[in-house]
């Protein structure tokens, strides 16, 4: 559920019934550019991430601050969500789609990892919200594309959403009608044990899988760099009719 918002944000919903998730985004009338890349970073805060929670938070902040330095930063809208069964509804939105200039990473909470892994819910919420918000933008003459990162150390075990739902949203993004293009990336960190499951999930949904290796300081720093560079590539692809071809295959 989105946190209490300021008047500059609007709320949307993806899914139905128990498989519904809310999201928030900047009110359209407050946006001034002609085109935007919608970026979502979904971070796993399940119990197994406790040993590297601080580094994971730093990596998230580094990624966001790096995006702020991009020459395309004025054309990025960023959403950050956490996922864990310990959170109400499994998903907590730290903030909705916002211009980078309005994001203060000092306000990012300390991570409190516990609970099981609603991976499919995180992917569905992230991809579905991107499609829905992009449609709103495209209907108002803005051009939009999107990129979603789901950072996890494990396989799904508690989601209400299904693989088919995630796949449907990825396919919706690929049609190029409501969003110019949409890239979904699952990043496994400390996830060697679940590599096969995560690869199957991404193959079945049409997302990409990147294995970031072990959760060391260095690897998490590289993860942040990968996110920032991928965002930059996808943003530069805006207007070409398709997704970036320059997303690195590994970190």
């Amino acid at each position: 559920m989105p946190r209490m918002m300021d008047d500059s944000m609007t709320v949307g919903k993806v899914g139905t019934g128990v498989q519904a998730f809310q999201f928030s985004g900047m009110r359209i009338e407050r946006l001034g550019a002609t085109e935007y890349t919608l970026v979502t970073i979904a971070v796993d805060v399940t119990g197994s991430t406790l040993p590297f929670a601080d580094e994971l938070r730093k990596s998230l902040i580094t990624a966001v601050e790096s995006c702020k330095k991009s020459p395309r930063s004025a054309n990025l809208l960023l959403r950050v969500i956490l996922f864990s069964s310990s959170l109400s509804g499994g998903i907590e939105e730290i903030h909705g789609f916002k211009p980078l200039g309005e994001i203060d990473t000092n306000n990012y909470p300390q991570l409190d990892p516990m609970g099981a892994t609603p991976l499919f819910d995180a992917a569905f919420s992230a991809v579905g919200a991107t499609n829905a918000y992009a449609k709103t933008l495209m209907d108002q003459d803005f051009l939009a594309n999107g990129i979603v990162f789901v950072i996890t150390d494990g396989d799904d075990n508690v989601s209400r959403s299904t693989i088919a739902m995630v796949k449907k949203e990825i396919e919706r993004g690929a049609r190029g009608e409501e969003i110019e293009s949409l890239l979904g990336v699952v990043i496994g960190i400390n996830a060697a044990e679940f590599r096969d499951e995560l690869k199957k999930f991404t193959n079945d949904t049409g997302m990409a899988y990147i294995d970031a290796g072990e959760a060391t300081k260095g690897k998490l720093a590289k993860l942040a760099q990968f996110v920032s560079q991928s965002v930059s590539s996808q943003s530069q692809a805006l207007g070409t009719g398709g997704p970036s071809q320059n997303i690195a295959a590994k970190i």
Partner: protein
């Protein structure tokens, strides 16, 4: 209280990029607390570096309006002649500094200058002017020179005699036509009129004053280059209505609308055949709009 917001955009026509020519249209706009200026320029396609000439014309005009605002504090009595005079000085200086010939400077000039007390739209050359009212009605005028020989402000420095001769030499002869259309609520035509201007009037530039009373009723004032009349399969009236159908009005509102409009036209035809430019001023009446938003 009136606040001004501006935006502008220009786009290369299909005939230009298939023949390897640059975009020879240009537009520029800006506003401060009390005034706004929006300008377009269309470079002659058979000239030389008229893409540069169009930029110089548009930017010179914009600078001339800033100079005028500083000197005359927004008085409207002599605005067109003062801006024209200042524009010629800037053009002359720039030509000398960059060593440009007349053939580089053959570009039209269209601009809107608005203040808290009203304003003026001025056209030297050809193009389209459009006024969109808060009621939704649109009044648009298309200006066209006989035999497609438009006046270029650069002739005032050189070549005026040849221009006059090309139009037959009679300064009182009708050489510039105006087709004016009024639409109620974008769909229903309420009026259509034609009139013409003499060679002398066309050279002096056509000025259309905007009174304060009219300003309070207007939501947008826009000027287009004549590329808006050359969109494959689309009438100029429909194109103007479409390009003024802004869905949101924040930031680059005109650019968004025109980019989307051109994309839609390219799906059904070749889109703009000639280069096209728009420059537009949005008039926000904070007294009225504040009441509406609170409602």
């Amino acid at each position: 209280m009136i606040k001004f917001h501006t935006d502008h955009y220009f786009h290369i026509g299909s005939a230009h990029y298939t023949s390897g020519k640059p975009c020879q249209d240009y537009s520029f706009s800006g506003s401060d607390e009390n005034t706004a200026c929006a300008t377009v320029s269309d470079g002659c396609s058979t000239g030389r570096h008229t893409d540069i000439g169009a930029r110089i014309l548009a930017l010179s005009t914009f600078q001339a309006t800033r100079d005028y605002t500083r000197s005359f504090k927004g008085s409207l009595d002599t605005v067109a002649s003062m801006i024209s005079s200042s524009q010629q000085q800037i053009i002359g200086m720039t030509r000398r500094v960059l060593d440009l010939g007349l053939e580089d400077m053959l570009a039209t000039s269209g601009y809107i200058y608005l203040t808290q007390r009203g304003g003026v739209v001025n056209l030297q050359g050809d193009g389209v002017v459009a006024l969109k009212y808060r009621s939704g009605g649109i009044e648009m005028s298309r200006f066209e020179w006989e035999n497609n020989i438009p006046f270029y402000p650069a002739y005032m420095g050189e070549g005026l005699d040849r221009f006059v001769a090309a139009h037959g030499g009679d300064m009182d002869a009708s050489k510039l036509s105006r087709e004016r259309i009024q639409l109620w609520d974008t769909n229903i035509e309420a009026g259509l009129s034609h009139n013409s201007f003499s060679l002398r009037e066309g050279i002096n530039g056509i000025s259309m004053p905007i009174s304060m009373a009219q300003l309070l009723q207007l939501e947008f004032v826009a000027v287009f280059t004549d590329g808006v009349t050359q969109i494959d399969g689309v009438s100029w009236q429909k194109a103007v209505v479409n390009f003024l159908a802004f869905k949101t009005v924040g930031g680059e509102f005109a650019k968004r609308r025109m980019i989307r409009g051109i994309q839609d036209y390219q799906k059904i035809g070749k889109g703009p055949v000639d280069d096209i430019a728009i420059s537009v001023i949005r008039i926000e009446n904070t007294d009225i709009e504040g009441v509406i938003s609170e409602g």
